[in-house]
């Protein structure tokens, strides 16, 4: 039987099982929430240590990134992520994972051409677009203020 692309699409969408949404969402909620609790723990710790507001923000980010990179290096982060999905993707530990995983993966092509070149294959867009947006916002502030 000849099927049009639309008919074929209907057929394969019917045959394709959907993502197990409720389970996925619950896991994302719990794991993502727990990572934020960990972040809150660091925050309280650094506040008690008497860091400035900016200092606390930076220290929390650095600590969370360190957790993400170490768990990635030990091969634990991807195992959690398989179940947690967005719960491990969206927190800043997910950013750390997206930098550390190519660093480990491509070391077989050498430190410079492998690790260093490929480190931002996944995280690159976050920085490029984030930085560009921040510059644009800054220029708007200058224009409005000037």
């Amino acid at each position: 039987m000849k099927l049009s692309r639309q008919e074929y699409q209907k057929l394969y969408e019917k045959a394709s099982p959907p993502s197990p949404s409720y389970k996925n969402v619950l896991m994302a909620f719990v794991v993502g929430g727990l990572l934020c609790v960990l972040g809150q723990g660091f925050r309280t710790l650094y506040q008690k240590a008497g860091l400035s507001e900016q200092g606390v923000a930076a220290a929390v980010a650095i600590s969370m990134v360190a957790v993400g990179v170490v768990l990635t290096a030990l091969g634990i982060y991807d195992k959690i992520a398989k179940r947690a999905g967005a719960g491990t993707l969206v927190p800043i530990t997910g950013f750390a994972n997206s930098v550390a995983s190519p660093a480990l993966e491509f070391k077989t092509e050498g430190m410079v051409l492998g690790t260093c070149v490929r480190m931002f294959t996944i995280a690159g867009p976050v920085l490029v677009l984030g930085i560009s947006a921040s510059v644009l916002y800054g220029l708007i502030l200058v224009a409005l203020g000037g």
Partner: protein
């Protein structure tokens, strides 16, 4: 009419499978000749590991045939890596005349089809065919680094870590290659690279239905019809497409992507990769034909002809399916 009938007999003289650990834990695990204890096979990179698996597979197949590399007229093989490096490096010290193939996951069937043509045409007496894939080397080329925390949708497939090798010969043995059909490319417009079964199912249907039309055979004339790596989604589609023609494929039809792993092995829709159909061929189909448990089998290698580049350019995924008919010699 593109179905080829090999009038001069072509026989399968020997075969071997070198598989990974996860495949070794699957239902066919104890039938593989060599199972690597870990994905690196003692090598420094995933690619080197795959090359070693290719070498192991063809050497084992020749050993089982009682042949040395010098006896082989030529080798035909391919894999999934860029420029087919696993296969060519796996053969680089062999000095066997070599032709590299690329048919994505259909490579085992493509090799058998070409090899049989060379033997039946009287051009070669002995041809060695290989096909290999490796989960880790494929993952880093097509998707993400292994340590990246991604979640796979249920339609995703697991690239098999395996290499199969088959020696075809003009000298008589228990299994004969009787027919083959070169498939055409069909693109049903699927753009989701995590749903390759859907992208390839149409080509499998087209090749099979054209084969039945051209030969006058029906599915019931075969003990088993297998497709290469359509997995659960693609298999369902092939059944649905034949249903619409009033042909019931269910009694004889299965897919290698669903035969390589147990359902609890967390491979989502099923297995994929050149090594998937090659491992099922060498671990299940050929032994069963050899023991005369099957009389006639259709082995249909399916391939998704995409690259990461075409996917990022928004292209849909073309599929292909080559068919080989294997029969137990009376």
């Amino acid at each position: 009419m593109s179905t080829v009938e090999f009038k001069n007999p072509v026989y399968v003289r020997s075969w071997a499978v070198c598989a990974g650990k996860k495949e070794g834990e699957g239902p066919l695990g104890d039938r593989f000749d060599v199972v690597c204890p870990d994905g690196r096979c003692g090598e420094k990179s995933w690619e080197k590991a795959e090359m070693k698996m290719v070498t192991t597979a063809w050497k084992t197949a020749l050993q089982k045939a009682g042949m040395s590399p010098g006896d082989v007229g030529c080798a035909l093989g391919g894999d999934l890596l860029n420029q087919c490096v696993s296969t060519s490096f796996g053969f680089r010290d062999s000095h066997i005349p070599f032709l590299g193939l690329y048919g994505a996951c259909s490579t085992m069937a493509e090799g058998l089809l070409l090899g049989s043509s060379l033997v039946a045409g009287g051009i070669q007496d002995h041809v060695l065919c290989t096909a290999s894939s490796h989960f880790c080397s494929a993952e880093r080329q097509y998707r993400y680094p292994l340590a990246y925390g991604g979640q796979r949708p249920p339609t995703a497939q697991w690239t098999a870590t395996a290499c199969g090798a088959v020696v075809l010969s003009s000298g008589k043995s228990g299994i004969r290659v009787t027919r083959a059909k070169i498939g055409s490319i069909y693109d049903p417009g699927v753009t989701d690279a995590s749903n390759m079964g859907a992208a390839m199912a149409q080509s499998a249907y087209e090749t099979l239905s054209a084969y039945f039309r051209e030969t006058g055979d029906a599915p019931a004339d075969y003990d088993l019809i297998v497709t290469g790596d359509l997995a659960s989604v693609g298999k369902q589609l092939v059944v649905d497409l034949f249903d619409a023609d009033g042909v019931d494929m269910r009694p004889v039809y299965d897919d290698c992507g669903l035969m390589l792993f147990h359902s609890g092995q967390d491979v989502h829709a099923g297995a994929s990769g050149c090594g998937c159909s090659a491992a099922v061929l060498g671990g299940y189909l050929l032994p069963a034909l050899d023991k005369k448990l099957f009389r006639r089998v259709l082995f249909c290698g399916t391939g998704a002809l995409l690259s990461p580049l075409t996917t990022s350019q928004g292209e849909s995924i073309p599929g292909i399916c080559h068919l080989v008919c294997l029969e137990a010699e009376a």
